[in-house]
């Protein structure tokens, strides 16, 4: 241990790897539990995928920050087809952090994808929570997105 210095807070800044404001409302447990899990999680939620993006593509891209333990594709609850999100679990937290720093906000299948910390996969969480079976965001979407089934469900 050094008797001097340490580091500087500007150099400690790691905003990409921080928790976002989002908290899963279906999480069973307290906010405190959830945040504790998020802070040590090796699992990322990945959103804004195209419905056509494959597990193989996700594996190739996210494999760039470290060895992947598992990819779980998000599915339409009714159709059981891909509905534009997934979970990526790494063996090491540091690899997940690097994905948050360098893969979040870049493109996969020409779409800017978004990653966020996830408290951990549980059976059932692979399904969309929208009324029609897909993700909530595709229920009310007004714009046309060819990679996500066209117009939002309420518009259709």
């Amino acid at each position: 241990a050094m008797s001097f210095g340490g580091t500087l807070s500007i150099l400690r800044s790691d905003s990409y790897a921080e928790l976002s404001q989002y908290r899963d409302q279906h999480f069973r447990g307290t906010r405190y539990d959830q945040e504790r899990l998020l802070r040590k999680s090796c699992t990322l939620y990945v959103g804004n995928l195209s419905f056509y993006t494959t597990e193989e593509q996700i594996h190739e891209l996210f494999g760039k920050s470290g060895d992947i333990k598992k990819v779980i594709m998000g599915l339409d609850k009714v159709k059981k087809t891909a509905c534009g999100f997934c979970f990526v679990e790494y063996y090491a937290r540091g690899d997940a952090e690097n994905a948050m720093r360098y893969i979040n906000g870049t493109r996969l299948d020409d779409r800017i994808i978004r990653t966020d910390w996830d408290a951990g996969f549980k059976e059932g969480r692979q399904y969309g929570r929208g009324r029609s079976g897909g993700q909530v965001r595709d229920e009310y979407r007004q714009d046309y997105d060819a990679g996500r089934g066209g117009y939002g469900k309420t518009v259709q």
């Binding site: 050094m2 008797s3 001097f4 210095g5 340490g6 580091t7 500087l8 807070s9 500007i10 150099l11 800044s13 790691d14 905003s15 990409y16 790897a17 404001q21 908290r23 307290t30 906010r31 405190y32 539990d33 494959t54 597990e55 193989e56 593509q57 594996h59 190739e60 891209l61 760039k64 920050s65 060895d67 598992k70 990819v71 779980i72 594709m73 690097n98 720093r101 360098y102 893969i103 870049t106 493109r107 996969l108 299948d109 020409d110």
Partner: protein, 672 residues
Amino acid sequence: MSRRRPSDDSDAGQPHKRRRTSEPSEIEERLESLICRVGEKSNSSLESNLEGLAGVLEADLPNYKSKILRILCTVARLLPEKLTVYTTLVGLLNARNYNFGGEFVEAMIRQLKECLKVNMYNEAVHLVRFLSDLVNCHVIAAPSMVAMFENFVGVTQEEDVPQVRCDWYMFAFLSSLPWVGKELYEKKDAEMDRLLSQTESYLKRRQKIHVPMLQVWTADKPHPQEEYLDCLWSQIQKLKKDRWQERHILRPYLAFDSVLCEALQHNLPPFTPPPHTEDSVYPMPRVIFRMFDYTDDPEGPVMPGSHSVERFVIEENLHCIIKSHWKERKTCAAQLLSYPGNNKIPLNYHIVEVIFAELFQLPSPPHIEVMYTTLLIELCKLQPGSLPQVLAQATEMLYMRLDTMNTTCVDRFINWFSHHLSNFQFRWSWEDWSDCLTQDLEKPKPKFVREVLEKCMRLSYHQRIIDIVPASFSVLSPANPVCIYKYGDESNRSLPGYTVALCLTIAIKNKASNDEIFSILKDVPNPNQDDDDGEGFTFNPLKIEVFVQTLLHLAAKSFSHSFSALAKFHEVFKTLAESDEGKLHVLRVVYEVWKNHPQMIAVLVDKMIRTQIVDCAAVANWIFSSELAHDFTRFYIWEILHSTIRKMNKHVLKIHKELEETKARLARQHKR
């Protein structure tokens, strides 16, 4: 910085730490923030900000002296890209408070000694440079600095020490000269000449066998890849020839000359380099990466030559910025682009060169590869009218020089380029590279294009790749990654094991258990029957073939399907692959089924190692077997081998750690 969120307060009875806001730590944070932010973009001039800050700190000295000392020592060590800003600040403080200046110098020397003791040599260089620039700020007397450098250069006379030890002291001396060479030479020219002459003779006699290992290109044209000390020496010699005139470094202290030259200077205490010990680990030697010169940007400002100190200083500072901000890509890109030099240097070219220098560094880049891809994308976002063109130019140059590029670097180039393209709709002028089509497909250029297209396909899909390249490039396009099932066609019914394969297919589709699978497989004859030593389950390659082919074919839909299959029938795999020959054969069959889909082979091999169906030795034997010789120079083979070695290393480290922990527990038990 933690922000209290509304959700924290709504917790039902969960205890959580409330940050006790004690005044001293708040003030320390404020001081640190003030000091770290000086020199950033501001409405006021740098000079007036420094003046103001010096005043604030001087007023705080009575109460917060040790905190201020600590912060200043830390910025000296960790923010070398702002070296002259902080030496000026220290100069101003010293002018106002001589004792503080003395205490700061003492603290720096203590910090330097500690750094050397714990092998923090890169940070120690920054401290040495800081001390030498303090000569320019009238804080340290030039003769005492020369004396320290005499002791540094004296290390080259030590016997039986690693060359890298002498190298470091030489580097610490030489790399400070762009900042302080002029001043030291003016005050002590005879001593300096002697030092430079000793430097020259050391550099002549030292070994450079590391150079071929570290060069990115083996060719000397268009830019020689120089040994780092040789390059620095050429730069210093040129600086001396130019009478130590250095015009690039920003020197805020010049504006304060009238104040600073009134200050009393301190003498550095005599500094004895700590002796070499068993635990000393010095930095590795380097080769300087160069890919650009002034001819590459004829329209823009002139790029400083490879033997100019300006080039050295710019590269050092840009590397330091990346080191400081690697976790924050937007900040990093912004800081790189706001490097002072205005329109006097082709900054985009320097930035691209420094980034590729790190990406291609041997043996490993300082940071994870994907960081550089994303950093370049951020830079393109900030400079959309200029940076993409420089990158395209760089890519073209790298392509032209593939013939002499180190293979590891080619691999990194492929990974970077394909990932980069995937962020820009794979737009590229492939026709410009049609020259590679006339070459033997194993030559570096066509091989590079093939590997790039294969990687691009992994990030998209097969048809996309067919669409993005001209028709003439089809010979380089990757195979459609489909599975090859040898028992698929009716026409194969004469193959041994065909009927069992059919049977197996139906059974698996009907969710058969492992036991049922075993009993179906019992019917498979053993082509090695004669070698059967009667020990029950001996190596039966046909059994392995039928089972693995069938299962992988049924699970071909996705990685997850295949992983589930491996998990479900793990017991069967373990039994069939019990022997070394069994393991090798499993790998062979996996290859036969998935040879069109190297990515699938890689993930299956990974899973099989992790679930102990095969072991690392089997993978190594398989990779180096004659059956795979034709694929030996394909990058997926090396991807698999490196991944396997990494897993092995991690495993060894893990069990070593467990062993040490168990030993420690045992020792504690014995003490009781």
